[in-house]
């Protein structure tokens, strides 16, 4: 991996998004609208306080996955990936470049949603704000890599759009967002152990509801980092296959 090239790719992604003003506006507006609707739909404050950390984790995962997945697919469909793969950049340069490039936007998005949830929707939290952000950063990293990896299996936007419910919905229902994992049948509990949102929800809930520190949620954090590293390696491996087809 060459840092210079990784940054070149990251800067290019940022430039692309900055020049696309409508997308930039949507990145900010859509999560706020979604969060507002969810917030207003809960009649019980207690329930909202309990579910808000899980929703923050889900939204971070969902939007980062979506943005990266579609963007990477475009890189392939417009032929620029082919040009890149014939150049001296390595596959790891591309994956890490994407991660860095999207990070700033995903982070801005998270910052807006977390602050909006806490200060506008008035959701109670007891942990440190900065620890919530650090945890969200790890969720975003996992989601960006997952987006790159999954986009390798899609040949066009239609296929990618169908991967979204496949990747996101099972996680929403199986990872403790709505009801506790412990209340599900054993085999589903076992399955949930392989899904990153399980650890994202557990960790963020522990921080926000019970005021735990990042060290206390070290296990969840470790599992998410492990997932991120594994998926980025898989993404780098499968990249060539995608470019050649």
């Amino acid at each position: 991996m060459v840092l210079n090239r990784t940054f070149t790719i990251a800067v290019r992604i940022m430039r692309q998004l900055i020049r696309d003003r409508r997308t930039l506006a949507l990145i900010v507006v859509v999560p706020v609208v979604v969060m507002t609707l969810i917030g207003l739909s809960f009649p019980e404050r207690m329930v909202l306080d309990y579910i808000a950390p899980a929703l923050l984790a889900t939204i971070a995962l969902f939007f980062s996955f979506l943005l990266t997945g579609i963007s990477f697919l475009r890189e392939r469909s417009q032929g620029t990936l082919e040009r890149l793969m014939a150049s001296p950049v390595s596959r790891l340069d591309i994956v890490v470049g994407y991660l860095l490039g999207f990070f700033i936007f995903a982070l801005t998005q998270t910052l807006i949603i977390v602050l909006f949830t806490i200060y506008v929707l008035d959701v109670k939290y007891s942990g440190d704000l900065w620890q919530i952000f650090v945890f969200q950063i790890v969720i975003i990293a996992a989601a960006v890599n997952l987006g790159i990896f999954i986009s390798t299996f899609a040949r066009n936007e239609f296929q990618m759009v169908q991967f979204i419910p496949l990747i996101i919905f099972p996680q929403v229902f199986l990872c403790g967002v709505i009801w506790p994992v412990e209340q599900m049948p054993d085999y589903l509990q076992w399955l949930s152990k392989f899904l990153p949102l399980t650890y994202a929800v557990d960790g963020l809930r522990d921080i926000m509801l019970f005021g735990k520190s990042l060290i206390n949620v070290g296990f969840e954090l470790g599992m998410l980092v492990g997932f991120t590293v594994s998926v980025s390696i898989l993404a780098a491996i499968t990249l060539r296959r995608g470019a050649a087809s």
Binding site: N4, R5, T8, I9, R12, R15, Q16, L17, R19, D20, Q78, G79, T80, E82, R83, L84, M85, A86, S87, P88, V89, S90, A243, A244
Partner: protein, 251 residues
């Protein structure tokens, strides 16, 4: 006569490649001397793009060997080649200058002033300087082709692969493109061009006629025309002549 094989820009020997069960290249052998424009001519599905992808290192042959400038295509040889794929392959939201700057950086042009000069030089070369700050999606098809060519040559590669670069160009722009290509070969650059039009073929220094993953004939346009034995034969006649012979030999 071809030069010694070590002077060749390209050596391909008995190369086979399959996409699942479909044979795209069938024991193909080819030698391309350095410093010329070389045309890969053939109908769609003849294996032209597959061959180019193998030569730029995007695909690996199932059997046989390929060499570019005496080396196996890999990431180490990537800076030696310029590649213009069939699609425009540009970042639609970025401007002309941002696209060029990006590819120049990717090809290790780290000196800022040198890079800016080279980027300006190639944009002027393809006559797009007046549109340098426009996003790619605002440009016409022909303009995109010009920018795509500029991106392929920005790092001064000695070997250039152009996959159907003249498709969709109007006749005037086609002539301009060929002027660029001729100028590049005068600088010692080897250009491999795939095409299915005989108009392109006539401009090349040498040609290979391809069909069903094989080279059925190669030589200068004049040699290929003469091989038909008919005075005044066109390249189209020559192509049909070789297809006819291939069919007889094959059956």
């Amino acid at each position: 006569m071809l030069k010694e094989s070590q002077d060749n820009a390209i050596n391909a020997s008995r190369v086979t490649f399959r996409y699942n069960n479909i044979k795209a290249l069938d024991e193909l052998s080819l030698e391309v001397p350095a410093g010329i424009s070389f045309g890969l001519l053939g109908p769609n599905g003849a294996g032209k793009t597959t061959l180019i992808r193998l030569l730029v290192g995007l695909l690996k042959p199932k059997s046989g060997s390929v060499q570019i400038l005496g080396q196996k295509p890999s990431r180490k040889t990537a800076h030696l080649i310029g590649y213009m794929p069939q699609l425009h392959s540009l970042y639609a939201e970025l401007s002309v200058i941002q696209n060029l700057d990006f590819f120049a950086r990717i090809y290790r042009m780290t000196d800022k002033i040198e890079r800016a000069q080279r980027v300006e030089e190639v944009i002027r070369l393809v006559d797009m300087w007046h549109r340098r700050n426009d996003s790619i999606h605002k440009l016409s098809g022909g303009m995109k082709q010009r920018v795509s060519l500029a991106c392929a040559i920005v790092h001064n590669p000695p070997l250039l692969f152009l996959d159907e670069p003249t498709v969709g160009l109007d006749p005037e722009l086609r002539v301009t493109f060929w002027e660029h290509f001729t100028n590049l070969t005068k600088q010692g650059i080897t250009i491999i061009i795939s095409s299915h039009t005989m108009d392109d073929a006539a401009h090349c220094d040498r040609l290979a006629f391809m069909r069903d993953g094989k080279v059925i004939a190669d030589g200068t346009p004049g040699e290929l025309q003469q091989a038909t034995g008919k005075p005044g034969a066109t390249l189209e006649d020559a192509f049909l002549y070789f297809i006819h012979h291939e069919n007889i030999n094959g059956s």
